[in-house]
C-alpha cells in the first residue's frame, strides 16, 4: 500500500470518528434511549445511513464502477443459510452493545476523546474475539 493510500484511509477514518462523536452515536445514553424507543435520533441516523448506502451501492454495481486503482469492485455475499450464527451471534452482540453502550467503532472513538477507561472494554472485546476463534468448531453456525 502506498503512502497516499494510508493517508486516504486515515482521513476517512478521522471523518468517521468525528461524526460518531458529533452525532452522539458513541454515547451510552443514546443507546439506552434507542433500546427504550424514547427517541428517533439513533433510528434516523442508522436509517438514513442505510438508505444512502443502498443507493450508492446500487449505483456502483449497476455501472460496474472500478476503484481508484482500476480494479473492479466486488462485494462478497454473506451466507444467509447460517441463520443460527447470525441470530445467536447477533443477540450476543446486542447484549454487549446495550450493556457497554458502545459497539466497536465508538469504543475507539471514545478512547480518542480522552476516555482512557475504554482500554478495558477494548481488551475485553479482543479476549471475546479470541475466545470465539478457540470455540469456533464447537458453536452452532
Amino acid at each position: 500500500m502506498k503512502f497516499t493510500e494510508y493517508l486516504k484511509y486515515l482521513l476517512i477514518g478521522t471523518a468517521f470518528g468525528f461524526v460518531l462523536i458529533k452525532s452522539e452515536v458513541v454515547s451510552w445514553f443514546r443507546i439506552q434511549e434507542m433500546f427504550r424507543f424514547d427517541a428517533f435520533h439513533m433510528y434516523g441516523i442508522i436509517g438514513v445511513a442505510v438508505i444512502v448506502g443502498i443507493i450508492s451501492v446500487q449505483i456502483i454495481k449497476r455501472n460496474n464502477m472500478k476503484d481508484a486503482s482500476g480494479n473492479p469492485i466486488t462485494i462478497p455475499p454473506k451466507d444467509a443459510s447460517q441463520v443460527k450464527r447470525y441470530l445467536i451471534g447477533g443477540s450476543m452482540f446486542g447484549l454487549g452493545w446495550a450493556l457497554l453502550g458502545a459497539c466497536p467503532g465508538p469504543m475507539f472513538a471514545l478512547l480518542g476523546s480522552g476516555l482512557t477507561i475504554m482500554v478495558i472494554p477494548i481488551l475485553a472485546a479482543l479476549a471475546g474475539t479470541y475466545t470465539y476463534g478457540i470455540l469456533i468448531e464447537k458453536l452452532p453456525h
Binding site: L11, G13, A15, G17, F18, V19, L20, K22, S23, S27, W28, Q32, F35, R36, A39, F40, M42, G47, V48, A49, V50, G53, I54, S56, V57, D67, A68, I73, I75, K78, Q82, R85, Y86, L87, I88, G90, S91, M92, F93, G94, G96, W97, L99, L100, G101, C103, A109, G112, S113, I117, I120, L123, A124, A125, A127, G128, T129, Y132, I134, I136
Partner: protein
C-alpha cells in the same frame, strides 16, 4: 462555522455522512466497511496460541483497516476533546427518568461517570459493564460475522439477508439487556 464543530449534529446530518463511508471505501480501494474485523486482525497479529481461525496474513488483510481505525481514534480526539460539546446530551426526559430510577446520577458527558471511570472498575456494575460488555461485543461480533458497521450499515446497504438476520439479533439482545437484565445489574 466553528460553532457547528462544537455542537452536536442532528441525525439528518450524521446519517448521510456515515452512509457515505460505504461507497467511499469501495471507490477508494474496493474495501467493505467494517470495524470489528480490526479485532480479528489484532488477534491474528498476536496469535500466541496458534488458533486456526487467526492463522492468515493479517498484514495484507488488515493494513487499511488498522489505518482507518487509527483515524477513528484521531477523529474521536478531534470531536470529543478538541471540539467537545460542553453541553449535556439532549436526551428524552423519559430516558433520564428511567436511568435516574436505576441509580445513574451523572448526565454531563457522553457516558455516565457512574460506570465509566477507573474507580468504577472496583464496583460490581462497573466490572460487568466494562468487561462483560466488551467481551460480548467482541465475541458476538465475530460469531455474527460483523458488528453495527459491517452488518447494519454495510450489509444492509448491499441488501444482504444475512445482515438483516444479524441486525434482528442485535435488537433481540439489546432489548433483553435494556428491559430485563440491566435493571438487575444496576440494582
Amino acid at each position: 462555522m466553528l460553532d457547528f464543530l462544537y455542537q452536536p449534529w442532528p441525525w439528518y446530518v450524521a446519517g448521510p455522512i456515515i452512509g457515505l463511508t460505504v461507497p467511499v471505501l469501495l471507490l477508494v480501494g474496493g474495501k467493505m466497511f467494517g470495524v470489528s474485523a480490526n479485532l480479528r486482525h489484532a488477534c491474528a497479529a498476536c496469535n500466541f496460541g496458534n488458533v486456526e481461525f487467526f492463522n492468515y496474513d493479517w498484514k495484507t488483510a488488515g493494513k487499511w483497516n488498522f489505518t482507518f481505525l487509527a483515524g477513528s481514534v484521531f477523529g474521536g480526539f478531534l470531536g470529543g476533546y478538541v471540539f467537545a460539546n460542553p453541553e449535556p446530551i439532549a436526551l428524552a426526559q423519559s430516558t433520564i427518568a428511567d436511568l435516574q430510577a436505576l441509580g445513574i446520577q451523572d448526565f454531563t458527558g457522553l457516558v455516565p461517570d457512574d460506570l465509566f471511570t477507573w474507580s468504577s472498575l472496583g464496583t460490581v456494575p462497573g466490572l460487568i459493564v466494562l468487561i462483560l460488555g466488551g467481551f460480548l461485543v467482541g465475541f458476538g461480533a465475530r460469531y455474527a460475522g460483523g458488528c453495527t458497521s459491517g452488518h447494519a450499515i454495510s450489509g444492509l446497504s448491499d441488501l444482504q439477508l444475512a445482515s438483516l438476520i444479524a441486525v434482528i439479533g442485535f435488537f433481540i439482545g439489546g432489548l433483553l439487556m435494556t428491559w430485563f437484565i440491566y435493571p438487575i445489574i444496576l440494582s
